[in-house]
Amino acid sequence: MAWIELENITKNFGKVSVIKNLSLQIEKGEFVSILGPSGCGKTTLLRLIAGLEVADKGKINIAGTDVTFSPPNVRKIAMVFQNYALYPHMTVFKNISYPLFIKKIPADEIKQRVNTIADNLKISPLLDRYPQQISGGQQQRVAVARAMIQTPNVFLLDEPLSNLDAMMRIEARGFLKYLLDKIGTTTIYVTHDQSEAMALANRIVVMQNGIIQQVGSPKDIYDKPSNIFVASFVGNPPMNLLQATINSTQVKIGDQYLDIKESITNLRKPLQNGKVYLGIRPEHISIYHEDSKNDGPIVEGEIFVSEPLGFETIITVIVSDQQIKVIKFGGSKNLKPGEKIKLQFKKNKIYIFEFETGYRINEIQGDDYDDH
């Protein structure tokens, strides 16, 4: 039996169906990230696990106990809220010690445990202050400390980094990963930021409209997206999706024919009317020169704009009225808007998605994560 089991969970708010017959299993010690756009039901899912909402249908098990209808205080969970929810009338020390105080743990033990955790999180000098008197990054650490002071069955984190500015966020992300790895407690982390999910989790659950779109390791989600939604949600910039028509050997984008025999050998489903989306990630496209080795199909286009970002350059190219984003590493000389350019798609990185349903229909070969 898995450590956390969600079985056919349904949750409606009035007439709005937020979670639709969702099942998910999480093993002990896993770090699972629930990823999706706002309004996809990811926070509701977390609140259902916390007991702050009650499911309309379905069952929730935590650590072998059915907690479907249990209040939050008996579930042995710890949660970090998006706005941290630090009690404004208590000092940082009181905030961190609150879960222990409620359990009537002796004062000297509380003091010792709070001091240990404050040392770990480098917030010892703040213990006498009030939450309003410390910065956002410090508040986030206090909220994490309050969660970590317990030994919960599961840590629930609801977009804990979203209130921090961009610089702080990267720093806090690394620190959070370090901490949670060290403790090894099962963690569920809700975010709308795909880079956070990729950076932190062992396993990512991608959600949209209350339905799980795909569950897998970050690498699986990235390399083998099961549909257009996952493909376009994960990755920055996201995967290029081009409308195309296809037959058994080649694909047609606008009036250009691409030879993609190898990408369509392992179809899970026979091609129907030939309309598909062709997906290719920006980093799997290279600029083709006469002396490049023949590594995949080539399309011609016109540079629309190029955005140098220092280390890499994002080039937007118009190919038969559709935009393609390309990441080029190194300099961006000779990339003037309006110029003609040839692009080569890496042949084993081409994705074919069914036009009607958006599901990927070709098998992706190879296991290489990143080989430019």
Binding site: G51, N73, A78, F81, I102, Q132, R146
Partner: protein
């Protein structure tokens, strides 16, 4: 330029008259009790404490203060307990028709505590056997004040983010621990404001105790003051003014203390 001067002079004269209209009774209240010849005009004469002496010699004057305290404290307790529990539900759970219910309550509370409903209220108190009892007075005054208090407390509670309570539950507290350790401390300002307002309104209420209580022994100060006459049947102004000043003091002190500790402001939006 001249025109402006003239018009501002007229303004000042007009405002002075209005101000005098409001200030004069207050000056009277503070001057007359210390006068040896109290009258309806503001004149100190020779300062004396004699008027206060006669208040303390009148047993009715003393125990009616006690009655006022019993009624005002009772109303305050009933209002604070009922209004904060109800306001919490109205603030945190939205059920069908909840806004309409608050609207109706406020509408009818103004009628209930008003003069128009005195006859039915009297009948109700008789049939409940509450006539001539403190409980009847307390319930009637509180019943009039609770809906408005619910409304004020609800908007106050609305401004306290729900995530504090959720965090407390997740941190392992039971609902009652959450209430006492988190929610009440966060909302104490609003509750103290409501307590003060309902104490003051009960302390000053004349009509309801006057109608529902029939024995002098149970009259609160607001009704007793109405009964101070000389043997000649004229109002005893010295006694009335001294008593009025004593009667006002708890309210003034209450306002000052609360204002010093909390300040009268309705805010609870504590940023997380």
């Amino acid at each position: 330029m001249n025109k402006i001067r003239v018009s501002s002079a007229i303004n000042y004269i007009f405002l002075s008259v209005v101000a005098a209209f409001f200030i004069a009774p207050v000056i009277w209240l503070f001057v007359t009790p210390f006068s040896n010849s109290p009258s309806l005009s503001i004149s100190l004469g020779t300062p004396t404490l004699e008027n206060f002496g006669s208040v303390f010699q009148d047993p009715a004057a003393i125990y009616s203060f006690g009655n006022s305290v019993i009624i005002a404290v009772g109303v305050t307790l009933a209002t604070v307990i009922c209004a904060s529990l109800a306001a919490y539900i109205f603030s945190r759970y939205h059920f069908h028709g909840s806004n309409f219910l608050i609207f109706i309550l406020i509408l009818f509370s103004n009628i209930v505590s008003g003069t128009a409903a005195m006859v039915p209220l009297y009948m109700l108190n008789i049939s409940l056997g509450l006539i001539n009892s403190y409980l009847g007075v307390i319930l009637t005054i509180a019943g009039g004040g609770i809906p408005t208090s619910i409304f004020i407390l609800k908007s106050f509670f609305d401004s306290i983010p729900k995530s504090y309570e959720e965090a407390a539950l997740v941190d392992g507290s039971s609902y009652s621990q959450m209430l006492f350790h988190i929610f009440l401390p966060l909302s104490k300002k609003g509750i103290i404001v409501i307590a003060t307002l309902s104490f003051i309104s009960a302390w000053g209420n004349f009509l309801i105790p006057f109608i529902l209580l029939s024995s002098q022994r149970t009259y609160p100060a607001s009704v007793t003051i109405y009964n101070f006459y000389t043997e000649m049947g004229l109002p005893n102004i010295g006694l009335i003014s001294a008593y009025a000043l004593l009667y006002t003091l708890p309210v003034i002190i209450g306002y000052l203390v609360v204002n010093k500790i909390f300040g009268f402001s309705f805010y609870g939006g504590i940023k997380g």
